[in-house]
Amino acid sequence: MGILLAGLLLFSAGCDNIFEYSPYKAGVRVPYSDLNLKALKVLEEQSREAFAPFSVGVFGDTHTYYDDFEEQVARFNKQDSLAFIAHMGDLTLSGIYREFIWYRKISSKLKHPLLTLIGNHDYLSNGEFMYEEMFGPSNFTLVYNNCLFVFMDDIIWEKNVQDPDFAWLESVLEGSEHYKYRFVLAHIPPWSAPFSKGNEYYYNMLMEKYGVDLSLHGHTHSYTYGQPYENGPPYFTSSSSKRREIFYLDVKEDGFEIRKEDI
């Protein structure tokens, strides 16, 4: 038995968590806490007071497409001058503990600061709590080189049909006219099914009212760029990792541009 036990232990020496209490476990207690908050701190220090051109890497819906995800990370690392990378949400498939850890293990190889949005899949089982402990609050903002980035949790069904926190969105967009650009990032685009017609209208109305320059999303698993509403900003959706594409948001003096790169 002793030999057998030793064998078991040896075999599992590679695992960093040999004992697993539950796939639904949350309460990380590993060095992975407040990752977004830590990245935001780094970015605040890097940011300049006045506008200066910069680029942001964008991808999302990595789910469990781990091989493609790894290649996306490697491709982003070939770029030297990215301000940060935005993950548009759905970093897991079932919101279970190991999927969060796998996401962290792969994304930790990124040499650029990473900001991770929450997606609908990340709310499954105890993912909501896992996300909060690992990354921080699911709504947050960043001012970088005099541009405003709003990261918004717009998950609805998985919160038992709860409207997006439009009051918060409005509170951070209010008085943002003095920034050079305003970008809003949220996992689900407003035309997608979880949004009611009223919420869809209201979301775009807020974009228009506060002069948001671009609304960025994930969720659809395919790349789109266009102006779906008569008024309001252009909308962008990133593809899933399976499509083997990454995106850049180039923010320039005379405008901004979304660039797609195939891997």
């Binding site: 078991l8 075999f11 796939p23 789910h63 781990y66 790894e70 498939l93």
Partner: protein
Amino acid sequence: MALKSGKRIFKEWVARSGSWVLLLGGLLLAPSARAEGGPSEATLQVDESFLARPMPLVFQEDTVLFKFSWLKPQQLRLQYAGLIGFASVGLGYEFTPRYSAALYYGVLSDTFGGSSVRVHTVSIKSSWRLFREDLLGPVEPRAGFSLNWGNTNNTFRRLPAHYPEKYYFQNKLHLAPFWGAEWALPLREGKWIKGIGLYAEMSTLDAYVLEMVRTRYVGLHDIWNLALGITLYLD
């Protein structure tokens, strides 16, 4: 976005009611398997109390005599970790010399396991002895699988009504294969315990196996976890 992939196909198989009927049916029919072999001598000697009174039950076309005393477990188990909670207790039943099953209840909470969430898990574990009894002395290698039914936030068997059909796959039930061994010590003097066993098992989850098959990133070394337990063999 709901994903359409091999995972769904696999998981649909796992969740299709037919496969559960088969597995649960196996458990339900286990008493009849005993009945076929005839009640053991010990059962015959017990007085005709209510528990020991034969009760006719019809399984399909076969009538078997069911006794409530058969529900009395032959084992009590206590387990640490192993995907079904920080700690769990189980009732074990030996159906054949090779096959035994156990019903576990496990808990994970702030007090038990330091998790910020509470998870209650009910698990039915089927295990098979891999070698003939006494071939390896007191060590009994075994393998099998558990059906884990986890109860916590945002888990469901049937999707809540506000979702479109098949938006998500069910995430309450999981199949967990395992392998391991028990080291058994007979106790001569025990009044109601005739033996004690210490076991160690490596287990994994359907979802992890699927990622191992589907991706290069998740390897065989990434999917296992260890459970430790004690079995008390009741007299």
